[in-house]
Symmetry: C2
DNA sequence: TTGAAAGCGCTAACAG
DNA sequence: CTGTTAGCGCTTTCAA
């Protein structure tokens, strides 16, 4: 059996209280006994049980991370960033793939609570607001990444989606495009991007056409399907703005099949600037999010909450960066 | 405060023992009190504390997953597959990015043990065998994915690396290549792939040249650097086999910079068949691993161990599948 | 069929 | 400076 605090106490000839104190560096202990106890702990290869200490009210030093799908490179990078910072701060992170399924969300949350995680970071579009609201009103530490829920008092770090959408659209307009369709992923973060898209159109005096905006799931397949639909029905159409790289990849595939050349016949832009954007053919113009920063910030926000500091709602909006590659070019003259 | 078993007992007018029994479906309880207790639990929104129950010896229903880097699409997919199956079986998974750093490995392991996880899945190349060996000899549930350690009695699921390496090399040889370099990632799984490479060369009567095999870290940058070195020093060189897609991507980049056309002047092959392979320019010939199956299998192995079934060392080797795309073509005549 | 009571390993007063 | 002791929330004999 693994040694317990009793084993250590006995071997060191002290009480368990004393051992507990040297473990946690609390109370006043003479150097002599401290050394003695430490020595014994080493010899016994003693590791305090976090489960037992958590039962007495201490933290588990574990956080939950809810995201849509780890197989999406964007989320994978977010997860990496979050885990990195968590590890620096001594927290483990429990990964939860929700697939935007609100039952799964609920299931994960209850399980995480039962396991007494100290806080939860949400990178999913919670459909079920109630769950989140309950958490928050119970004063349970929650933080959002890459999205925001104004009506909830939750810390959040996100990129300026509006600006990103505006930059993309403006970039296309400045290349002479006037017929620009948008494929938006079904989720909260798309809202800002869409607003940016519409505003840029308006600022350029281009009327917004509802039929040029479609919302769908964020997968390559859906991008392929939706992009194909645009290409088959819209005319003229010289550019497509996809609200994430996966969708853009699908669009490019649809274009390729139709012998539509990128960027000669069609400009395509993505969002997130995932590893895919850099290496796809042709390299994809996309909007970079400072994922490392974002990950670090959410974790810091969450940990502050966990430690009972700042009760105020925190919010940080980072700047997106338009990365221009070869998937965008001058609009073809008609 | 969250309700405890005492609150439920009191409200239901029974003892905590009874409540515990209905929670766990143990012992004999009359339907009447069972219903009563269940009703009260609902009303109170009672959720049993896993921490407390774990302290009495029960499982935490949590497993640890050690992998090198979630930002590598291959590992991200593995993580997704593992989490999926874990979730089906009621287990949460704690993600640990080791970066092949043996201190980090050790740190994660101790932490996971202190948190009383039920088992650990290792997708990293453990440098520090001692840690693993200790775990195993303590009879702690461990399972390996995408690698194998013959000297350890650990369950493992992997792809036939030897066969994969052989197929790749053979494919190149059949295209007329005779000057085939290999870039191997620094890790256990490369060993089999290298053996396959050498065997295929030998079978074709092509002498193995040590200078045509370099080992390095598994990153795009290293692939770029190493690939560049090959391209600058080796002559003739008509094909490069990279032991994973990231490296292959780097090689392609190095080739592009040197105006070396793929596949006309140089054939490139990767391994893992990540999402990158499908979308890079040109699409990359690569070896697919059945990641979904692999993830499911390791989890199943691990859970069997956790539940105390099969004490025998299990091992399953799955078939790799060579996916031929446009990055490979006939060798250029000299 | 139910309940009393003894732990599980640790923390935190409180006393000495 | 050190030890005693009462929990933390739950499981599990063992009696009743």
């Amino acid at each position: 059996m693994k040694p317990t605090i009793y084993d250590v106490a006995r071997a060191a000839g002290v009480s368990i209280a004393t051992v507990s104190k040297v473990i946690n560096n609390t109370g006043r202990i003479s150097d002599k006994t401290r050394m003695k106890v430490n020595k014994v702990m080493e010899e016994l290869r003693y590791q305090p049980s976090m489960v037992a200490s958590a039962l007495t009210g201490k933290r588990m030093n574990t956080i939950g991370l809810l995201l849509k799908d780890l197989a999406n490179p964007f989320f994978a990078e977010v997860a990496r960033a979050v885990e990195d910072r968590g590890q620096e701060l001594g927290f483990n992170v429990v990964m939860c793939n929700t697939d935007n399924d609100s039952d799964k969300e609920a299931g994960y949350i209850t399980l995480l609570m039962q396991k007494k995680v100290d806080g939860i970071i949400v990178a999913t579009d919670f459909r079920n607001h109630t769950i989140l609201k309950d958490l928050v009103s119970d004063d349970f530490p929650v933080a959002l990444i890459s999205q925001e829920i104004p009506e909830l008092a939750v810390d959040s770090v996100l990129v300026d989606d509006y600006l990103g959408g505006y930059q993309v659209t403006n970039h296309l307009i400045s290349l002479g495009h006037r017929s620009i369709a948008m494929i938006a992923e079904d989720g909260r973060s798309s809202l800002g991007r869409i607003r940016g898209y519409r505003q840029a159109l308006e600022d350029a005096g281009i009327p917004f056409d509802e039929s040029m905006l479609i919302t769908c799931e964020a997968t390559v397949e859906e991008g392929y399907r939706t992009g194909g639909r645009f290409l088959d029905t819209l005319n003229p159409l010289t550019a497509i703005f996809a609200s994430n790289d996966l969708l853009a990849v699908g669009v490019m595939k649809a274009a390729r099949e139709r012998n539509i050349r990128i960027p000669d016949d069609l400009s395509v832009v993505g969002f997130d600037n995932t590893i895919l954007a850099a290496f796809i053919d042709p390299p994809l113009t996309s909007v970079a999010q400072p994922i490392q920063d974002m990950g670090r910030q959410v974790v810091d926000f969450l940990v502050k909450r966990i430690e009972g500091e700042n009760k105020m709602k925190q919010r940080v909006v980072l700047m997106p960066e338009l990365v221009i590659r070869n998937s965008t070019g001058p609009a073809k003259a008609h």
